[in-house]
Symmetry: C3
């Protein structure tokens, strides 16, 4: 039903809507990511607002184009703000993304928060392989907030999370986007430098939210976001091998991406039964 050309055309349309509408993206994120995520959201063409107190989050989520929630460095007040924001988002029909940073046995306090947030049915759940596997109820390991699994190792586990959200996105050397609508989409690209820059994943969650602000489809928003991210990272890695200068070049590349660049994305559909890559 969806061949590669169709999907890419839809992505290009979303990208154009993003530039035209510059939607307001409500972010509740961690102290490490806040500046970088805001700059990333600006770079892709949207308008970030970091409203993370419990006294404003509910009302603000109602007027935002989308909401991104990230559990990287939660405080008591910020955690309260997350629930307020989700309530506001669900009341107003604002799409929202859950990025369960650090989910797992060691960080049990935030993991309980994430379990509770999950009952409010996020539109997209985005995480690394360790987080997604753990969130799906599997014994998993992680190194702090970094994954010790490859993204494909979380694929099977991730299927069960489709009960909690219409779209599950697992980031890694290959990104996997799971949904009823598109099945499993694999996006390969990006750069080996990405894991050497902090908050890249956190910023990607906010980009998913930004694309969802202009998309009816959660899965298409997540796919577009991951494609935009992977292409910009590839372009940036062509400019530099340094990890500091890569971060700078990445912001440049996110902003300078042209719609025709999406034609070059390595995007495939996977048959979950055979776990093999099928060309679309």
């Amino acid at each position: 039903m969806h061949n590669k050309t169709d999907i890419i055309e839809q992505i290009q349309d979303l990208w154009q809507h993003l530039q035209d509408q510059q939607p307001l993206v409500h972010c509740i994120t961690n102290s490490v990511a806040s500046n970088f995520a805001a700059n990333v959201v600006l770079a892709i063409g949207a308008s970030p607002a970091m409203i993370d107190n419990p006294f404003e989050a509910e009302q603000f989520a109602q007027i935002a184009g989308a909401l991104s929630i990230n559990t990287g460095t939660p405080t008591t007040e910020q955690t309260q703000a997350m629930f307020k924001a989700v309530k506001g988002a669900n009341t107003a029909g604002t799409p929202w993304v859950l990025d369960p940073v650090g989910y797992g046995a060691i960080l049990s306090w935030r993991s309980e928060t994430v379990d509770d947030l999950l009952t409010f049915q996020p539109h997209i759940i985005r995480g690394n392989a360790s987080e997604i596997a753990a969130l799906a109820g599997n014994q998993s390991s992680a190194k702090g907030v970094d994954s010790t699994l490859q993204s494909d190792q979380a694929l099977q586990h991730a299927q069960s999370l489709l009960n909690s959200s219409p779209c599950i996105a697992i980031s890694g050397a290959t990104d996997y986007i799971l949904s009823q609508e598109f099945g499993i989409i694999a996006i390969t690209g990006g750069s080996v430098l990405q894991p050497k820059v902090t908050a890249m994943g956190c910023a990607l969650g906010a980009v998913c939210a930004a694309y969802h602000a202009v998309s009816q489809s959660s899965a298409l928003a997540a796919i577009a976001a991951h494609c935009h991210f992977a292409l910009a990272a590839q372009n940036a890695a062509e400019q530099t091998h340094g990890i500091g200068s890569f971060q700078v070049a990445f912001l440049d590349a996110l902003d300078q991406l042209k719609p025709e660049d999406f034609n070059h994305i390595d995007l495939k559909r996977i048959d979950p039964k055979h776990s093999q890559l099928n060309s679309l």
Copy 2:
């Protein structure tokens, strides 16, 4: 009374004082801006200190050269710190800047905080057009924390705020600085890339404070700060078109600005009655 040459000479003197004295700038700012604002304050020659807890803010504001308060991501403790700091500043005669980020109907909690802070008579109020118009009691619109008005649209409204502060600064493609002392000063320059970098406005608030630490005149401090900022942004934009690399080049340019560069600033006085640009 103040022709352009006089003003520029006074700015150049302030810049020299800033380099000589490297004043301590007490900043209470948001989580997005904290790193960038600290680097900006260092880049212009001053010494930033982000003291934003209610247990130290009052005492610290008394020994600081100036205080900058920004309501971008307020917490309960940080809000308490703001009032403590303002009390300390007013006790000790420390000049202080209020940057009412996000002021408006949607973000009512912080707006009440700002209303209360306003009664303590900040030396400079600095904001974007939407914030200034809303603060002046006008129905206004904003996109989150970004302005949907042009800076000149807030000019008329801003006049009434001169009851609350001796100097009102509105940033935009053209910046306007209002005061009894200088009337309305318009500074045109900067770069179209500035709105694509987060926390630029927040950092400008801290720069106003830094200049005020070496200035008797609130208006002159604000004018100097906006000139320094606009010239550095112009110089940076000549180096790059990328928004990531612009941020880097901007820090370089703030630091590398030479006093003679101020001779090239596009600075005019405006007649508020006719709303026309008059050459000084």
Copy 3:
């Protein structure tokens, strides 16, 4: 007992262990430093995790390779997290670093926190000269969180702190590392641009922790960290004179440092009685 060649070989071994093991570094740091410190820790080869809430800090410090505590912008919850983390670290034998940012008479609240933390015997105390002198009970002055003393002016005072910790590190144009094991080691290098970039010292504290995760010796970890930092800063300063671009080049250089680069470090032992530099 330790000649220069021996020390450098031990540093090179530690560096290799760091690359091989990529240890998990638990950081509780300030809002200005969090992003930069995380990127610095990634750049040297380790894995940062900013876990700064009191509900997770104790458990996390037990599984981390090392812990870094920094008092730059403490909140009530973060302060609680510091004590929980230290308790967890000491229970599990996790080495930890204390960076007493802002210690002194003006910032008395955090200074009391630091005094209490000190009773838990940090493995390394790292600070600038004003902080170390004040921590040793001497009348000292500081400009906010920046030092007004040269690092050698704190040398004598620092000796008494060896009762509280096996290793005291004072950063400045010349860094001094004090310990029973190595005596006083002086490392000269780095760049004059470093004080113009915020959070450099804070990041250095996290680097000390990262090296301690792979070292039995606190002093050797601190020496290695300061050498890595100083060499990277020198290399970065050869690339640029701009303070924004220096920060970027510094991250590149931290990552690109080669073990043989340590051969070029200016490292000396000082005789505390004569306060003279002695070649090792």
